[in-house]
Assembly symmetry: D2
Homo-oligomer: 438 residues x 4
């Protein structure tokens, strides 16, 4: 978090769980002020470093500036290399700092103009928040790929990624920040500008499938209801007689309820998730890693033994978890396991902030449905169709290929922005020579 | 954990999550040996101290002795006071140490005889494990109040509280340790003795209602199926027309599935649980504590608004959580909220290791059903009857008051053992004068 | 430290530097009360464990009891083994706990009587302090081997090992606790008893040679003046012409001033000590260990080059440090190095709390003066005679072999007490089977 | 420390003692490579932050660049403000980063040319070391105010501040880096350039008086011998009859030996320094702070009582320590205390890296000798004259005011460089708005 108290900015940036740091009165006492931004990121790779923890901060000539960013730039490294050639020193390897350096370099006089100047040079997906010594700023990229919503509590504005965050603190939901919109909150109230090229919104469809919490709303739709609809649509597209409909917990639960309701097959908790495995296991031995998967899920043996199962999950990436779960079900006596996936096959990698592997490791990129079923050792597998996905979300005609309503490139290969870093011939690896500085 | 390597014992005792300590190779590397015992305890009170962390260890004249214990003694303080008067020095405030001190004091020659000698002096509930330089020992109290099961992996015996632990490590379930049984595992195999007064088993009924994981078996019954049966029985006893059956997650989920199945009312996830609130929040401000409850549960507003709800939970202790959840449901637009509790009213405190408050704070101890309903601001409330509870577990005649099959004093006041500490006139508070030594 | 606030005892026991723990307001704030005892111990061996850190505490039937002890028992293990056989559980491997267990076991009614009862069973050297819920107690062993002094600050009594501790806090020196004396400080003032067999005092002569700070007094003598006298007496016994008298800092400085004054040879700081090497270096590589010695001492090359040196040190144990210092002096151009040691050769190990190695590793136990000189690569070496040592301390006749004034067994083999543990045939190694519990 | 392994740079930057971090094999194992630079700084002010810990590192377009710096720039803030206006983002508040940012901004192609380009823009005192992916670089400012020496070990070059560091690791002293010299060490050997305006050297005279260790050489002179000469010269200039010459340890010891030798008055250790007070005491209470001074020094009462003392110290800044020491001597019975300071009165603040207070707090800036003597409650006080200081260092004519051999502005007000930051009208306080980021 970074706060501003009218005179100084205060920062607390840590690795670890939010509840390990931001519940201590010693920490909260240091974070003085009446405006604040914060950022939480699930640590995915070995390159996790304290100096990459957001918000990033800079002492600019016009005052302090702190920024936090959800998403990923597609020309971030290209711009970074240009800036380094001109003499910029980057303190992190995060592409959020590219935005910050562009703000610092801008010749404009006002913070907000510098920010617009900086953002007009970048491409990609971003929902970002910033604080200066005058304003709290929220921006959503021209397509609105990543979400950003506006709420209000006791007369004060709040920006956050999901509506459930507003519920939790008892705040009122106002509206979403629109694609390409910049909102500026100050002592004078709230102001909105739209300085970028006007585009039709295309929010990321994975927010509905996997990312958002089921108790959130996005684009006017309940995430929980969408997922139930995915399950129902899948029951229509790929019906199957069975003893039970079983979700992979927790992400598959709403879809499984939808599938069960439509198919009249009983919904049961056949797999139990252990919620105490909150911490990432950091250990070298393969044997413990295998155990770690079992610690996360265990089969409810009393229920499964001798039964024909429809197993519901939201998506398949590499297929490793699905393989293990199907194996566990069979070891517990399942007679048949029919996998039903409530989204289409993932064939293309993401460059907008979703942690997908390279295309070679995407199970559906290189294999037919039959091959996938064999690989997973399932009795059958079906995916929801791309048109079924759009239908379940309220587009009765399905996906309009000329004008798709969502960012859905993982299924279609239709990327909304240029992918400049990817297409560049530059060698970006030299951009971080320092290997182990925290 | 304490391990034994044939020559030395090795111990690692820490506060915090298992995954913070017992995943580090530095820790696991220190824990050499081929027999081991361990203990995990949810820290409930301010008196949590490192020196109370189990297993406890002592260098006895006949060699090392480590012990870990699930349950609670009902004459532990009485005996402790006698031992202190004779010159014993206790290192902890745990009643497990009372057993250890009795073992140390015993005049018997063999470890196993010393252990039996010690246990014959104590009353209460215990499932315990111990290691000496020769044996791994498991004991269950004469009524079998707390659970203990025996498994096997790659030819080696395993003792644990629940069968799901065997599943997770891929071990085979053998049988339960019986009430009053002592099992002795050594290089020579396994041996069983029953040195105590023979009694009919009366396992704690709360293992079925709340404690055990749904994927475990206990006394030949699937916990998941028992809970579904509680829900079904409650649907029979207290039917109600409604839009949805909604569980308080996660403990109410299987019962709610049972209730929904029998009543044909749709099961829906109307309350979402946030699983990232794993750490206890340690902070002084009441405002943050209220937030902490909201962080744990949030209402799925899209579903609830305008609906008549049957809300399923497993039990009510003080009523504070239920009050808040009903309030959250109403704030999200619920038209009616009818609470259905899948166990009888808790009217009596526990002394066998369940963390219940004093009788004055038990909501059902002092109030009628109507008063409870008003207190919770529910439209109605029903509890499962004590006979319904027994019926759902396979006793068609209900509870036999002369010979009840379970330890169920929380509902009935029928405590299976004497409560000597409680009835004593002794002042036990002097037994721990040292307030802040770790 | 352990404190008592009239109701509870409070403890803080840590590894590390005093200034790392006992300067934090969070720690000092916890240590409430108006009586307190504390203990600091230089960690010498691998067996250093938090559970051995003093003061030790026990909840006895008559109330709390905390004890801290300087010295070593010579029958501690023998008694410990008897107690364990009777059922006592020891929490530490420290022999201080043997005293504590004897206090717990005593059948006497009063704390002070229990303490005398316990001490009358033990042999060895001890200066100890204890607090109960009524008293602060100080005891010195029958020979007064280890020191204990009494002071006063703002009307309150203070017990400590050295007079310089009183200076530092601005307290007034009252007197030494006498050999075999028990002082009892309470709200009623100070009381003194002498419950043990009356013996002539024999304080440890090493306090004068090495242990005590030069600004302390002991037995009416200034430590600084004693060391200057040792140097002067050595200049008389072993004169030598040279360019400079050089001390091994810091312990050799006062003796070197004395030697220089008597011999009229200039005193110079030829070896510089680096005071920033305060922390023990814990690392496995021999190369770094060698560096660690150099980090501690460096030769003042400008001074030494081409000169004939008299090198003064207080004692030689194994000879390793001396060897390195002489080598460093030669590498810096010293023409001749004549070593002068201001105590006699150490030929016998200590059992009263000085960390000496076994006899085999004592350089002087097995070698002649000539062999020692060769081993150290010195041009010559002389030790102060035993009679010279006594003369320098004010005994013009030298040592009286029938009635020596000091405990001086390291030089003479004349141990004042029985050495029961050493002579026992018992195998004590089994007394601590738990290897790595903190 | 930052190291370079031929491909990556590795860094370890920590607060605390060197021995707390750089003795751990886990740390040393991470610091791979065959060139390295390091930096240690005594933490003087509250603004101590991890992000200010040196060496600083940047990923430049031409590769990595790490730099560490001893000294202080006199136009660092002026340049920093210009750079920030142009869009530079500073990660620290250290003026070393100003040099790094100038290197990053330089249009030159080679690292070494960029460094020279950067340094030609700055003024002040600096001895600095840097590593790139090709070279180890050492630079000393045009006046050579701060020291830098060159050594060799096993064929490899070493740069360090003092010659004693070479002794400690067994390296050979080669020569000093000259004022205004840049040395470039690479696989091709060592190269030297002198790219700046040629000036006569003026090393800081405080290295001789206080900073350097007595076992170091600087400018061909032994620090120990210089200090003895200061004492001798002071005995000539300000003779006094007395019982003892007593140093304030440890810095006053060599001067006191010199004073004693010349005056024939016995040298004695009348004040004992406690070397275990290595850690800074961080606590709020004034009472503990007062104690902390006593913990550092204690009077050797046996010696002092009734005596007339000459007390030797190297310098007086605010006078607080001297006041307390004189008070302690009187409390211990000193009959007279005559203070002799082996340098002239400090009348002007330093801007080249010595931690002096503002001029108002310099005791000698505003008071006469008599006033100082009264303030300190000394019987008399004398300072060494400025000409006496030069004479003692081998300039028989004393200081040449037109061409002084040393940087001696603290005594004379003669600053060798411009003081641009000090004379600027700019408000620099805005340059660090972020108050508590580590």
């Amino acid at each position: 978090m970074v706060t501003y108290d009218g005179k100084h900015f205060h920062a607390e940036r840590r690795m670890g769980l939010v509840s390990d740091t931001f519940t201590k009165t010693s920490v909260l006492g240091r974070l003085k002020g009446n405006s604040a931004i914060g950022h939480v990121r699930y640590s995915t790779t070995g390159g996790t470093l304290l100096r990459n923890v957001q918000p990033l901060f800079a002492d600019l000539a016009l005052g302090g500036f702190a920024i936090a960013h959800n998403g990923n730039l597609t020309n971030g490294l290209t711009i970074r290399l240009e800036l380094v050639k001109e003499g910029a020193i980057f303190q992190s390897t995060s592409d959020t700092e590219t935005i910050l350096q562009l703000v610092a370099k801008s010749k404009k006089n006002l913070s907000i103009d510098r920010m617009v100047d900086a953002l007009s040079q970048i491409e990609g997906a971003y929902a970002l928040v910033a604080i200066t010594n005058k304003q709290l700023i929220g921006v959503r990229d021209p397509y609105g790929i990543r979400p950003l919503v506006l709420g209000k509590l006791e007369g004060k504005y709040i920006l956050c990624s999901e509506t459930c965050a507003l519920d939790i603190i008892g705040a009122k939901y106002i509206r979403e920040v629109e694609n390409g919109e910049v909102v500026i909150i100050s002592d004078d109230g709230i102001e909105s500008i739209k300085p970028f090229q006007k585009l039709k919104p295309r929010p990321c469809i994975f927010e509905y499938i996997y990312f958002s919490r089921p108790d959130s709303f996005l684009g006017g739709l309940s995430i929980y209801e969408c997922r139930k609809s995915f399950g129902k649509q899948l029951a229509i597209e790929s019906p199957m007689d069975a003893d039970y409909v079983i979700p992979v917990p927790d992400s598959g639960v709403p879809s499984a309820i939808g599938y069960a309701e439509h198919s009249k097959i009983p919904f049961e908790l056949g797999i139990i998730r252990n919620h105490y495995v909150g911490r990432t296991f950091i250990e070298p031995q393969q044997s413990i890693r295998a155990l770690s998967v079992k610690l996360k899920h265990n089969v409810n043996r009393a229920l499964i033994d001798g039964k024909k199962i429809i197993l519901i999950d939201d998506s398949i990436v590499r297929g490793t978890t699905s393989t293990k779960i199907i194996e566990m079900l069979r070891d517990s006596g399942a007679r048949e396991v029919h996998m039903r996936i409530t989204s289409p096959p993932i064939k293309f990698p993401d460059f907008y902030g979703i942690d997908t592997p390279v295309q070679e490791q995407l199970l559906s990129a290189k294999h037919t449905i039959d091959e996938i079923s064999k690989f997973l050792k399932a009795d059958s597998i079906s995916f929801l169709s791309i048109n079924g996905l759009y239908k379940a979300m309220g587009y009765p005609e399905g996906r309009d290929p000329d004008n798709p309503a969502f960012t859905d490139h993982c299924f279609t290969g239709d990327y909304p922005t240029k992918l400049r870093d990817k297409e560049s011939n530059e060698e970006f690896s030299q951009l971080s020579l320092l290997s182990n500085l925290e």
